[in-house]
Amino acid sequence: MDYTPQELMVAAAAREIKDGEVVFVGMRLPLIAFVVAKRTHAPTAVGYFECGIVRETPSPELLYTMADPPNVVGAAWATQLPYLMGLMASGWVDVGFIGGAQVDKHGNLNTSYIGSFKAPDVRLPGSGGAADIASLARRLLIIMAHERRRFVEQVDYITSPGYGEGGEWRQMVGLPRGGPSAIITTLGILRFDERGEAYLASYHPFTTVDEVRANTGWALNVAPDVHPTPPPTEEELRIIREYDPHGFWTR
């Protein structure tokens, strides 16, 4: 295999961005997915960075955090966080990216407490902007490591809402729109059925359906047309490696 799982995940995430869309770019791998999308099929996509930056072009250098100085140079707007969140709350953001420590079959994410929140086994960092992106973006893309302890039947704490308990849950609790459209993992890509339950849509070329199932903590549904995830193209790999030459995020 001449690419890393992270490179495949970045390429897969980039393909979820359509040309002309407004993208709420999250920390880590999404920083690079936005660059790949911009330089391939989505040249007019616009990126929102919650620290207060809007970009119409990729940043000139690799970002470790979204507030690194290269992200401000050549920005299309430098502003305040609630304005960008407010635009998202008003429906202007097509797609948002977040990661998670724990996800369940309805795409709810936990980045706050493992165990009971009153006496947690592990205190995770918390929401950041993730709860807002999951609440307010038109669609949500989740990027995370595929491990059995992370893919659980039901999360311990909902930091960022997916489809809740499934069905009409989002409307019932008052969320204005949205919900997860895919979970891009180190092993495959999960999508959601009409009841809001995740199923395996594709598995990465270096794994199998059985291996994905073995690493999932619930009885994972599998699409009838499940297939290998297309590997990153030469062009995608070139862009990723030019942007992250030392592989800080992608190796």
Binding site: G52, Y64, D68, P82, S127, S135, Y157
Partner: protein, 306 residues
């Protein structure tokens, strides 16, 4: 009025034990590390920390025992991972238990904006259906009185910090301050707070600030102290001055896995240095030089004339 003083004086005078302090408001840039370290050196106790995400600084203040309560969206280390002191405080009560009020970035900004507007709360549809209201009494589940069906809505209670500490690029001695780049929730926090401490890379003439009033962050009459502290945001970046020192975050992450490791780190970089000048000397001239602005990207001046 000349409000210029040292960081030691500003912290002594305006951040008492028990204060609520907003800091780290631009997210990963312009974090007032020098001010945070001064809080630790002066042994402040029972603080409430207010911020959006906190990249490492809240962890240091928690580990040093300064903190009773955290109101924030995220406490960690953005490029390296989890925050070990924050974990120890919540999971094991070390060095003592802390209260955490879990916000999202948007709700934190709305809590400060509400205070900035003199409003008791701001309604929003973010975080509906999440567990955040279960771990934050400042997020109140209610219904929208403007709809017949009474749709669910979250009321974000106003949060008014006693003091907001802003690291800025430049200020004058009266407290006019220019900040540029991503602003995060700096404006909301400065407007909400009862008092503002400005820590500047450079203190310059009043005329420089007033030549570009759109870039001034908050009315100067809210500012109680102005401190000139070059390098005061290191290892976080300051647009136009210096870049992020990524290695510090990774080293901190590695060294603070144990309480003993944290204590050794604290001795080396906070308790064992009297001030920021000594901190930068310990960092070394060569390393500090490497982080300095490599190429200029000035904006074209605007003409306010008439």
């Amino acid at each position: 009025m000349n409000k210029r003083m040292t960081l030691r004086e500003a912290v002594e005078q305006f951040v008492p034990d028990g204060a609520s302090v907003a800091l780290g408001l631009c997210l990963e840039s312009l974090i007032p590390f020098a001010a945070g370290h001064e809080l630790i050196r002066q042994g402040r106790r029972h603080l409430t920390l207010i911020g959006p995400i906190s990249d490492m600084l809240f962890d240091q203040l928690i580990g040093a025992g300064c903190v009773d309560c955290v109101m924030a969206a995220w406490v960690g280390n953005v490029s390296a991972g989890l925050a070990h002191c924050f974990r120890r405080a919540v999971e094991q009560g070390l060095p003592h238990p802390i209260e955490v009020r879990d916000h999202s970035n948007f709700t934190m900004s709305l809590a400060l904006l509400a205070a900035a507007l003199g409003a008791p709360f701001i309604p929003t549809r973010t975080v509906l259906g999440t567990d955040l209201p279960n771990t934050n009494p400042d997020l109140i589940e209610s219904t929208n009185p403007l709809t017949e069906a009474g749709e669910p809505i979250i009321l974000v209670r106003a949060v008014q910090p006693d003091v907001a500490i802003l690291h800025v690029q430049r200020a004058d001695e009266e407290g006019h301050a220019h900040m540029w780049g991503n602003l995060g929730i700096s404006v909301e926090a400065a407007l909400a707070a009862k008092a503002v401490i400005v820590v500047a890379e450079e203190v310059v003439e009043r005329d420089v600030l007033l030549s570009d009033p759109n870039r001034i962050i908050v009315p100067a009459h809210k500012v109680v102290a102005v401190v000139e502290e070059p390098g005061g945001a290191h290892p976080s970046p300051v647009q136009g001055y210096y870049g992020r020192d990524h290695d510090v975050y990774h080293e901190y992450h590695r060294r603070t896995r144990t309480p003993e490791g944290f204590q050794a780190w604290l001795e080396e970089w906070v308790l064992g240095v009297p001030d920021r000048t000594a901190y930068l000397a310990r960092l070394g001239a060569e390393r500090w030089q490497r982080l300095q602005r490599r190429r200029s990207a000035p904006s074209v001046p605007v003409d306010y004339g008439y």
